[in-house]
Amino acid sequence: MALEYESLNENVKKCQYAVRGELYLRASELQKEGKKIIFTNVGNPHALGQKPLTFPRQVVALCQAPFLLDHPNVGMLFPADAIARAKHYLSLTSGGLGAYSDSRGLPGVRKEVAEFIQRRDGYPSDPELIFLTDGASKGVMQILNCVIRGERDGILVPVPQYPLYSATISLLGGSLVPYYLDESENWGLDVNNLRQSVAQARSQGISVRAMVIINPGNPTGQCLSEANLREILRFCYSEKLVLLGDEVYQQNIYQDERPFISSKKVLMDMGSPFSKEVQLVSFHTVSKGYWGECGQRGGYFEMTNIPPRVVEEIYKVASIALSPNVSAQIFMGLMVSPPKPGDISYDQFARESKGILESLRRRARIMTDGFNSCKNVVCNFTEGAMYSFPQIRLPPGALQAAKQAGKVPDVFYCLKLLEATGISTVPGSGFGQKEGVFHLRTTILPAEEEMPEIMDSFKKFNDEFMTQYENSFGYSRM
């Protein structure tokens, strides 16, 4: 055999990505056998019934088939502003959707992204420092690939985290330096935890190079306060860390105390020397928010205070992949410059967007409350993003049973949940958690009308499970 498991790159073997791991594979098997599965393992809104926004789909359909624009009856199927916008985006390309663009993305779209950032933050943004990517994940991988030289390079990553970070660090042969978010403080970030983590890593000979924040958090949903962001930026300044700001959920905010504020804005607000010296890369996507266009694979990153020659190297690596897909670039352009009041499509667009966001807000509440009503389950409120991350306090009997079954306790629980109810979640161990504390991650994306039934189903399973395993304590062989 030319290629055997033993001879594969160890880094590949080591890397894990639970979001499409064991639970998902088991759920897919059960689905094939005919069981109804509710996939809440991944932030994939359209897969759970959320409809795409109409206007962007109209524009992109016209860009896919530009010959439609010449047809006399095109106005019967498409509103005038969609037609105009399609012409606008096509004019930014040299050859339509089928030609490779600039490896950094179409300059015209990057300009629109820069204008968006400027409007959002109140500070200028340079399109030359914005690179479009096939999804934000690709951007994260590109930047980490630049930063990680070897296993002595450490990246500070929140625990719990979205496992793209742990998987990528593994693949690149670097070291993950965890900093723990505080569940009892709504998953708050304590700078002292950061300091401790860095000190510990350094004592092991690790050179800590970057810090990842996910704001709003995934899986935890917390929205960082401005004060917190300032602390973090000060920390990065004094410890010489590049800050990687994963802000893909910036449109998904479900409380009013802590609106989204970008790391870039806070950094610029802090002024010199921070604003001129702290290195920052910010990530965004068309996959989340109220757009939920996961399947398009569209994202960008914006670089701040990265030396020009490094930007050139990042550009060089991007050019090997030739270009990000052009349809998604147009989605990105539309997302950052949506219909405005007065536009023909504005009312429909505003109605659709508002509908989605308000529903998400309601579902965040329904789910949190639902989990909190269950035995041995405690759940922080989903302040933002798309997930609920309840803590499941497993009784000793359950821990034993898991051990017998050769499974990590939360995997054991989640598999039982899946088999009993068809609800497919991701065990907390896939995201990292404190030793001996167990969670699961579910999304808040199932349709609102199905939520009560789903939460009832969960409660029934959970409360029965807890009763069963609380009573089985002592029966070690059951």
Partner: protein, 543 residues
């Protein structure tokens, strides 16, 4: 070494802060550091200022986490000439042309550096784009007016595809290998092409073929002791990917004199040499039809290659993205899968990864980023790792997936769109063949230039016999001779090509790669300008 010097110098600056005057030793070390081009904070004037000036900012740039000398060295090492230096110059010229039209002997830049057909006027296949438009905005399928604007079979196909997508949700992440129904269509297409069955579970859909190549390199390469046999000249995705993953490229030279033939004896020789240097050669990459060389392998040759891989325990990486681009009647594309199966080799006999893309062929849909790899002959534990890698990125873009399924199962005789589809396809392919021939003939007429015919793919790769004087001038300009020629060509004509050194070549030979993609009406002007330029270049540098 630089970093050591800088840190030594920094220590000394810190010491000088405490002492009012620098001593002799620190002066010397600091000037050493200042001589190095990345010691921005250690300029001599600061040395003589009072200690109070040595405040906060002296450690700013050199201790930032991300600087040129602190990023991953593999990133620094990798190169990709297709969008390299020449293209940067061309883009600057293009910008300048807008405001300084009269400053140049040409009025447009013609990009012949990259296989990007639709950027040079090639039209997409209508049927494919109809289906994509309907899948982009599914509400169209509910409108009666749609029937007046779209062909009936494109509407049928859109329905069929949407039925294969859970919830008809084209905006959702799909299965990490790609939507099952689309993989079924691709597998059926592969079977129809080859006459041997294909399993949809062997197919991994990717954002273009390139990410698939990267995935395989990631899997195969653990260190620089792992080698991948690559053709020279090669498409520099391979060299770049190997560099990024920290492996070793083991070159095997294609024989220009015999139409870029691939000799097994050359493969053997290079393999043995690599092994003798302690390299574990893991795979053989073959590009067929070739890029930049354009040759289409003879079936007999392919059989030898399959046997070689089997005997030597190598994974065969078959880059077949140009499988629909064959321009000569005496050659035909045969997939390596078909060849291996027709030799009686099954799943247990050979590890084969076949790459296909929607970017080339007659469809030329580069910007959509669609493609797949068919992975056969791997044990299930290896396949799980491939799946895992694919899952970290969740899935490839859905629109590209749909297009890949259309490319592999296009309209059939009897379908509403068949006639127009065939007309478009054959129009494009015959035009490509014509342009390949015209440009090849023109290049062969140039003094000191020989050009093998483009049997397939999208490029010509002429060999220029550069006069000594030109080589000397290039050296004086600190440029590779072929890059020197290409820059001169660009500045004189606006035509952008890629120097052969970007693809590697037999040392001492010089080439450039030019695409055959400019539209037919532009070709005469390109030929004239190129011919004129070459004559004046040779007049200047003839020995």
């Amino acid at each position: 070494m630089r970093r050591f010097v800088i840190s030594q110098a920094k220590n000394l600056i810190d010491q000088t802060r405490r002492r009012p005057l620098p001593n002799h030793k620190s002066l010397r070390l600091l000037s050493l550091a200042a001589a190095s081009d990345s010691a921005p904070v250690l300029s001599s004037p600061r040395l003589f200022s009072s200690s109070s000036d040595m405040s906060g900012s002296d450690s700013s740039s050199s201790s930032l986490p991300v600087t040129l000398d602190s990023i991953n060295p593999k990133v620094l090492k990798c190169e990709y000439a297709v969008r390299g230096e020449i293209v940067n110059i061309a883009q600057r010229l293009q910008e300048d042309l807008k405001i300084n039209k009269d400053a140049y002997p040409f009025d447009e830049i013609i990009y012949c550096n990259i296989g990007n057909p639709q950027s040079l006027g090639q039209q997409p296949i209508t049927f494919f784009r109809e289906v994509l438009a309907l899948c982009s905005h599914t509400a169209l399928l509910d409108e009666s007016a749609t029937h007046g604007l779209f062909s009936s079979d494109s509407i049928d196909r859109a329905w069929k595809i949407l039925d294969q997508i859970p919830g008809k949700a084209t905006g959702a992440y799909s299965h990490s290998q790609g939507i099952k129904g689309l993989r079924d269509a691709i597998a059926a297409g592969i079977e129809a092409r080859d006459g041997f069955p294909a399993d949809p579970n062997d197919i991994f859909m990717t954002d273009g073929a390139s990410p698939g190549v990267h995935m395989m390199m990631q899997l195969l390469i653990s260190s620089e002791k792992d080698g991948i046999l690559c053709p020279i000249p090669q498409y520099p995705l391979y060299s770049a990917s190997i560099a990024l993953h920290g492996g070793s490229l083991v070159p095997y030279y294609l024989d220009e004199a015999s139409g870029w033939g691939l000799e097994i004896s050359e493969l053997k020789k290079q393999l043995e040499e690599a092994r003798s240097k302690g390299i574990t050669v893991r795979a053989l990459a073959v590009i067929n039809p070739g890029n930049p060389t354009g040759q289409v392998l003879a079936e007999e040759n392919q059989r030898e290659i399959v046997d070689f891989c089997k005997k030597e325990g190598l994974v065969l990486l078959a880059d077949e993205v140009y499988q629909e681009n064959v321009y000569v009647p005496d050659k035909k594309f045969h997939s390596f899968k078909k060849v291996a199966r027709s030799m009686g080799y099954g799943e247990k006999d050979i590890c084969l990864v076949s790459f296909q893309s929607i970017s080339k062929g007659y469809y030329g849909e580069c910007g959509k980023r669609g493609g797949y790899m068919e992975v056969t002959g791997f044990t299930s534990d290896v396949r799980e790792q491939i799946y895992k890698l694919a899952s970290v990125n969740l899935c490839s873009n859905i629109s590209g997936q749909i297009l890949a399924s259309l490319v592999m199962s296009p309209p059939k005789p009897g379908d509403d769109s068949y006639d127009s589809y065939i007309a478009e396809k054959e129009g494009i392919l015959s035009s490509l063949a014509k342009r390949a021939k015209t440009l090849e003939e023109a290049l062969n007429k140039l003094e000191g230039v020989t050009c093998n015919r483009a049997e397939g793919a999208m490029y010509l790769f002429p060999c220029i016999n550069l006069p000594q004087k030109a080589i000397a001038a290039a050296e004086a300009a600190k440029t590779a001779p072929d890059a020197f020629y290409c820059k001169r060509l660009l500045n004189a004509t606006g035509i952008v090509v890629v120097p052969g050194s970007g693809f590697r070549q037999v040392p001492g030979t010089w080439h450039f790669r030019c695409t055959i993609l400019p539209q037919e009406d532009k070709i005469p002007a390109i030929v004239n300008r190129l011919t004129e330029f070459h004559k004046s270049f040779m007049d200047e540098f003839r020995d």
